[in-house]
């Protein structure tokens, strides 16, 4: 029964050495087999050579997180074996290249010194020599099924069959690894071949050699390890689906959501969003739009700025001229954008800033997970830079709709919107269907945008009941925009009465935002609504929390989970109500100081005295919440630090 399938697979190797294509191919193999997938990349701040790995979870219906231990580890080099030998479940598979067997841990130059010493100590205690072959033997003794792939021999056979040289097929080693993994997991060769065709689409020679490599490997596995129990087909066969990273899906949402100008300065983990938009700067319109506009394509301009100061200020300039604009960055870039956020506030300029958080403080660990910019985002900008909106998405599909909503809210309320995302989402990918990314579900709204204002009466900063004034693009009517305090016409003033009115206008606008964004967009309750045990969290912890709640519910522990989605405006009444009606409240965050807990205290006056924090910069996993919740419930109060992941 495919409903019972719940597989975790890990693929590790040197960065730049085929991890990415192996991971991508593996995800496609499982999708073609009819499953939903969720995959995460973990990698070093390095271009080529350091250790990176993919975690892939496979389920019939939407996995939302990954887990340890894994059911199969594909080790493309010895460092992977040394890094992850403790992550294998009993009766799991270790697939490795026989070339790496002789490698000693001390001979692996890229491996982190601290990691090496820790691994050596652990192996010493287990009585295992720090040589790859010995670790493999040790794993075999614990019940792991070890599968050695003689790549050179397999390449020779593949070459002979294609009547070509070994060299010309040498790039098929990734396919061989994936095929071996598939064969051990009981996946048919057909699914592998189809994924090859999909992944190398349009490159005929490459498809042929990879298909032959897959066949050779499949036979090798069958001959040496027998036939595994077949994996049943999942429920999603014969469908047109998609797989995308969080970066991809936000880029898609920006294009669908009508962004006509995106500016950025390259920073991890945001850059792939801008890259994807650049690649798709000219895009096809759907049938109705083609007919209506009389053209089949249109475009979104993406410009790489010289720094984040320029990126946001350019976006603001574009918005002043009437474009729907956005920019993308990470924590360090948000630091540089602070002054311009304040500028956007006083000039009432709509702009969406996607902030892909990573590990800080300072440069921290650029390629790893963190949720440390919550308070930074809320307090971004000097001089009471309010109103603004701070929105945090919990997963890919939420991020898609939230991006479109953020674009709408920015224009409707004429404020900067900081959309908090993170490395976990940026570098993870999930499968989904057409109905999951409905482009028409959230209608595009531009608020009080007036394309043809009356020059005689127009006042850009007119005082209104809701604090929002008519917005005419620069160039349609003569008026001035100022970063200084100004009157209704935008003209600078130090008059105390007008200054006070403008302060109250901004305050009123925040009240309008609080009123008009429905409570259901501010916070969402999951799980058993009547439970008196509540997890409160925000952002990408949602997936591991929901998956862990499923496992805990099977054991009879029914929880509810309050996901805070907007921090400005804050869902004060909901959070208050939920906390006050709980016996146990546990906060989950990827930061040390409990930034969400501080925000909750600030707005509600209530404290959350149990916290689960992940601080090692790796992706939060299901079992960590599962174990963390149990531990937190056994305590009166305090901090549970969860530490899985390599």
């Amino acid at each position: 029964m495919s409903e019972n399938v719940d597989l975790d697979v890990m693929i590790g190797g040197p960065q730049g050495g085929g991890i990415e294509s192996s991971g991508q191919m593996a995800l496609r193999v499982f999708m073609i087999k009819g499953y939903d997938v969720f995959g995460i990349r973990e990698y070093h701040s390095d271009i080529i050579g350091a250790h990176s790995y993919y975690n892939v979870r496979v389920k019939a219906q939407k996995p939302r997180s990954v887990r340890l231990p894994v059911d199969a580890l594909l080790a493309l080099d010895a460092e992977t074996i040394f890094t992850h030998y403790n992550d294998l479940a009993p009766e799991s598979y270790l697939i490795y290249g026989t070339e790496s067997l002789n490698t000693r841990i001390d001979g692996i130059a890229p491996m982190d010194h601290d990691t090496k010493e820790r691994v050596k100590e652990d192996l010493k205690q287990k009585g295992v020599e720090p040589v790859a072959s010995e670790v493999v033997k040790y794993l075999a003794s614990t019940g792991v099924k070890t599968v050695g792939l003689p790549f050179k021999d397999l390449l020779k056979v593949t070459a002979e069959r294609l009547k070509t040289t070994v060299v010309s097929v040498s790039k098929t080693v990734n396919t061989m690894s994936i095929t071996a993994l598939a064969a051990m997991l009981g996946i048919d060769l057909g699914a592998v071949e189809k994924s090859i065709q999909l992944y190398f689409a349009g490159r005929k020679g490459i498809v042929d050699s990879n298909v032959e490599a897959a066949r050779t490997t499949y036979e090798y596995i069958k001959d040496n390890y027998g036939v595994s129990k077949p994996l049943p087909d999942g429920p999603h066969r014969n469908k047109v689906r998609m797989i995308a990273t969080g970066n991809d899906i936000v880029a898609m949402a920006k294009i669908v959501g009508g962004v006509t100008l995106e500016t950025y300065y390259p920073i991890t983990p945001s850059q792939d969003e801008a890259f994807y938009m650049e690649t798709h700067r000219v895009f096809d319109l759907d049938e109705e739009a083609s007919r209506s506009l009389g053209q089949s394509k249109t475009g979104t301009l993406v410009l790489q700025a010289e720094d984040e100061l320029a990126a946001l200020n350019m976006a603001i300039g574009g918005a002043l001229a009437g474009a729907r604009v956005a920019t993308t960055t990470s924590g360090p870039g948000l630091s540089l954008m602070n002054e311009a956020i304040s500028f956007a506030v006083i000039t009432e300029t709509p702009v969406v800033i996607s902030v892909w958080m990573r590990t800080g403080p300072s440069t921290g660990i650029a390629t790893r997970q963190g949720q440390q910019d919550l308070l930074h985002a809320m307090f971004a900008g000097h001089g009471e830079a309010l109103p603004k909106i701070v929105l945090a998405s919990g997963d890919h599909l939420e991020a898609y709709y939230d991006t479109i909503k953020a674009l709408n809210w920015a224009e409707k309320f004429q404020v900067p919107v900081i959309h908090l995302l993170d490395k976990y989402m940026a570098a993870s990918m999930m499968s989904f269907d057409m109905e999951d990314v409905d482009p028409y579900k959230v209608p595009l709204e531009r608020g009080k945008l007036v394309p043809n204002p009356d020059p005689k009466t127009y006042k850009r900063y007119e005082l209104t009941d809701d604090g929002i004034s008519p917005r005419a693009p620069l160039g349609t009517v003569q008026y001035i925009v100022s970063s200084l305090e100004h009157n209704e016409y935008g003209v600078v003033t130090e008059d105390p009465v007008i200054r006070e009115k403008m302060s109250l206008k901004r305050l009123k606008k925040m009240e309008t935002i609080e009123r008009e964004i429905p409570e259901s967009e501010k916070a969402v309750l999951y799980g058993d609504p009547d439970s008196r045990i509540t997890i409160v969290s925000w952002g990408s912890t949602k997936g591991p929390i929901l998956d862990a709640m499923g496992s805990l519910a099977k054991e009879g522990l029914r929880l509810r989970f309050l996901q805070i989605k907007t921090f400005l405006p804050f869902p004060t009444s909901t959070v208050k109500k939920i906390i006050e009606s709980s016996d146990d409240v546990i906060a989950v965050e990827n930061n040390a100081f409990g930034q969400m807990v501080m925000a909750v205290r600030m707005f509600t006056g209530l404290n959350i005295n149990k916290r689960i924090a992940k601080l090692n910069s790796r992706s939060l996993m299901e079992q960590e919440i599962y174990n963390g919740v149990k531990k937190a419930l056994s305590m009166k109060e305090g901090l549970v630090v969860v530490s899985d992941g390599a």
Binding site: G16, G17, E20, I48, A109, Q271, T367
Partner: protein, 94 residues
């Protein structure tokens, strides 16, 4: 041809960064296997001022360091071969 005069031992050969049994022959301008060989075999002579690639260490060393490594039996090369499609495999790292 004997193993001692194979591509793997040739000064004109650049091993693949990740799979060192494949490499680029700079004489023929094409990929060969480490065990291939031809009449243009050239002995590698370490130049103290040179820079060398050490596959085992996945790192570059100076000529002086290379000479020490060679005496210890470590293979060094004048360079490494980087797959032209390698950017499809890399990640944003800063």
């Amino acid at each position: 041809m004997s193993q001692a005069r194979s591509c793997a031992m040739c000064a004109r050969w650049r091993p693949h960064v990740v799979y060192p049994f494949v490499g680029l022959c700079t004489h023929w301008g094409k990929l060969t296997m480490d065990t291939d060989s031809c009449e243009h075999f050239t002995e590698l002579v370490i130049d103290n001022r040179g820079i060398y690639w050490v596959p085992e260490m996945r790192s570059r060393v100076t000529g002086e360091e290379a000479a020490i490594l060679v005496r210890r039996g470590v293979r060094v090369y004048l360079g490494a071969y980087l797959d032209p499609d390698v950017r499809e495999e890399t990640y944003g790292a800063f």
